[in-house]
Amino acid sequence: MSKILEGLYYSEDHEWVKVLEDNIVLVGITDFAQAELGDVVFVDLPEEGDEIVQGEEFGAVESVKAASDLVAPVSGEVIEINEDLVGEPEKVNEEPYEAWFIKVKLSDPKELDSLLNNKAYKEEISE
């Protein structure tokens, strides 16, 4: 059974969003997503300062099975990327909720309301 944490926001594209402080969030992929992908071998991240747009691709994650786009769950400016994942992409499999991809300064915090909570996401993946 996939692990789903309380207190995070989730997108239908299997990303989680964790609010750190006002308008600053971390973005990663869920336990369900990493299990579906299989062993992750490469993570392609945007650069600091890039603007991401909700629903649009901001990077890619490659596993032994396939390469998949990362779809932005929120819009805003990328203020930090998790450099560790470049050298150790396996962290995405080991601790999906620790291995954040990007830190984002939200341009429209209301977008968080369009995401799912843990219960709704649980229903989403059990379908």
């Binding site: 299989g38 062993d39 071998v41 490469f42 490659e62 032994v64 396939a66 992409p89 396996e90």
Partner: protein
């Protein structure tokens, strides 16, 4: 040599030579005259071995190979049918083997006749007006086809058309070819029936004047016939685009339905799939491209034409140009020609039905143990989404590896991307009922093992020369040559 596991470099002995040559008559040339830019900085690391060393090495390695001639090979989307030996016999004839592409045309009339007639046969089979055999493989054919579509729009001064629509079930080569051709992809979703959603298609083209065309495989990669095909081609044609048919799955339709009649304007055929030419080692392939009469003038040069009883080579000014130095992989085309004439029209019409029957037989026999995401009849191949019973966390990869222990090649896994545990089985028409039953029994046995003894799957394969490979390591460490390997080893040991 049961467990042969040497690299040829390990057989190397310094200064050993496997030949004896007379003294060079060209010793007045000096390498230094070439200029420094062309001189190697370090000596190449080449194995120094005798002829017998080479022969033994590669014979021993070849014994580890698994091919269609060793056993069942249900690799989906690849149409691994048996390649009749008569193909090889004819292609081995001295008259064909010793041809040179620059020979005078009057001395190669027979060879040109084969080329010309194969073009005509492919036209008849596909319902398209004219073919070229010049493209070297399926993906090359895709690129050539897209270049023709681009040239068509540009010849009409319509320069804004640079979008190609591709369904999410497409082969990965489709979007890649679009990008290589300098165009952009619009991806559309499949519907619940595993087919192109007409609704998404209409929405994708609505109000746009930059649609260059659409690429479609039919039956698609789920082995399902796109039954809305006439409506699909109509939508694209009304939007001003051309329809491209990816011929990867043509085998299912042979003698029954023609892409040209479905409304396609351009297509490629994989001779190495549908028409039984060699498959192994990535080639040599052949991907003939066919077009409608309207697009004929854009076909790449050189063209083989016939006037009265004489065959000649033509260069056409409207063509997209050359895409090969000469006439493609000629001897591969010859094998396809032999295959077609050997079967004849009557038998060719049985290929699609038998391929479809075999796939449906497997589908029905396995759907009690493997999850069938889309019900209903399939065409030449069937896609499952892993086991129905998910208790022991057995993945499609484990099933595929376990099959190797039973002496069968694994089906295609993790494609198409629509289902996370996709396993894609294409038996082709050349397998007997006994072979299909044997495969079905083994697949059921594996499903039981998955429940009762899951380690048997997780540890598989145990009987192959190489056990489970470390895919993460292979994807992360870029070791492509012996030199890379030595560098890697040195770094590791430090």
């Amino acid at each position: 040599m049961i467990q042969y596991n040497k690299m040829i470099f390990e057989l190397s002995k310094k200064d050993r030579v496997g030949y004896s040559l007379p003294e060079s008559a060209f010793n007045h040339y000096s390498l230094s005259e070439l200029g420094n830019d062309y001189l190697r900085v370090e000596e190449p690391n080449l194995p120094e071995v005798s002829e017998l060393d080479v022969l033994r090495h590669f014979t021993n390695i070849s014994n580890k190979n698994f091919g269609i001639e060793n056993g069942f090979y249900p690799l989906g989307s690849c149409t691994m049918k048996y390649n009749p030996k008569i193909n090889e016999e004819i292609a081995g004839l001295r008259g064909f083997r010793r041809l040179h592409p620059l020979q005078p045309v009057s001395t190669v009339q027979g060879a040109l006749k084969v080329y010309y007639e194969l073009q005509r046969i492919l036209s008849e089979i596909s319902g398209l007006y004219e073919f070229t055999l010049n493209s070297y493989a399926g993906a090359h054919g895709e690129l050539v086809g897209l270049m023709i579509i681009k040239q068509y729009h540009e010849s009409r001064q319509d320069f804004k058309r640079n979008k190609i629509i591709i369904p999410d079930s497409a082969h990965g080569t489709n979007p890649a070819s679009v990008v290589v051709c300098g165009m952009e992809v619009i991806e559309i979703a499949s519907n619940k029936r595993g087919r192109v959603s007409l609704q998404s298609l209409k929405e994708a083209v609505e109000g746009r004047d930059d649609i260059a065309g659409m690429m479609l495989t039919n039956p698609n990669t789920l082995g399902i016939f796109e039954d809305d095909i006439c409506e699909i081609t109509k939508v694209i044609h009304e939007a001003g685009g051309k329809m491209y048919y990816d011929g990867a799955n043509l085998n299912a339709l042979l003698g029954k339905v023609r892409p040209g009649d479905m409304g396609f304007d351009v297509m490629h055929i994989n001779l190495h799939k549908t028409f039984s030419t060699p498959h192994g080692g990535g080639g040599p392939g052949s991907g003939p491209v066919g077009v409608t009469e309207e697009l004929e003038k854009f076909l790449p040069n050189p063209r083989i034409k016939k006037m009265d009883n004489h065959y000649f080579i033509e260069e056409n000014g409207d063509a997209i140009g050359r895409i090969s130095s000469f006439y493609g992989n000629y001897l591969v085309a010859l094998r396809a020609y032999v295959y077609l004439l050997t079967l004849g029209k009557e038998n060719l019409k049985l290929v699609g039905p038998y391929a479809t029957l075999n796939a449906n037989y497997i589908k029905n026999a396995l759907k009690t143990a493997y999850q069938l995401p889309i019900d209903g009849n399939c065409m030449h191949e069937v896609v499952f989404n892993g086991l129905i019973n998910k208790d022991n966390d057995i993945k499609t990869l484990d099933i595929a590896k376990r099959l190797l222990d039973y002496g069968m090649h694994a089906p295609t896994v993790y494609f198409p991307l629509l289902f996370p545990q996709a396993i894609m089985i294409e038996p082709t028409e050349t397998e007997s009922l006994q072979t299909l039953d044997e495969f079905i029994n083994i697949m059921h046995k594996i499903a039981i093992e998955a429940k009762e003894d899951p380690d048997k799957l997780k540890d598989a394969p145990t009987k192959t020369p190489i056990r489970r490979t470390d895919e993460v390591f292979a994807a992360k460490e870029m070791i492509f040559s012996y030199k890379d390997y030595l560098a890697y080893r040195e770094e590791r040991d430090q």
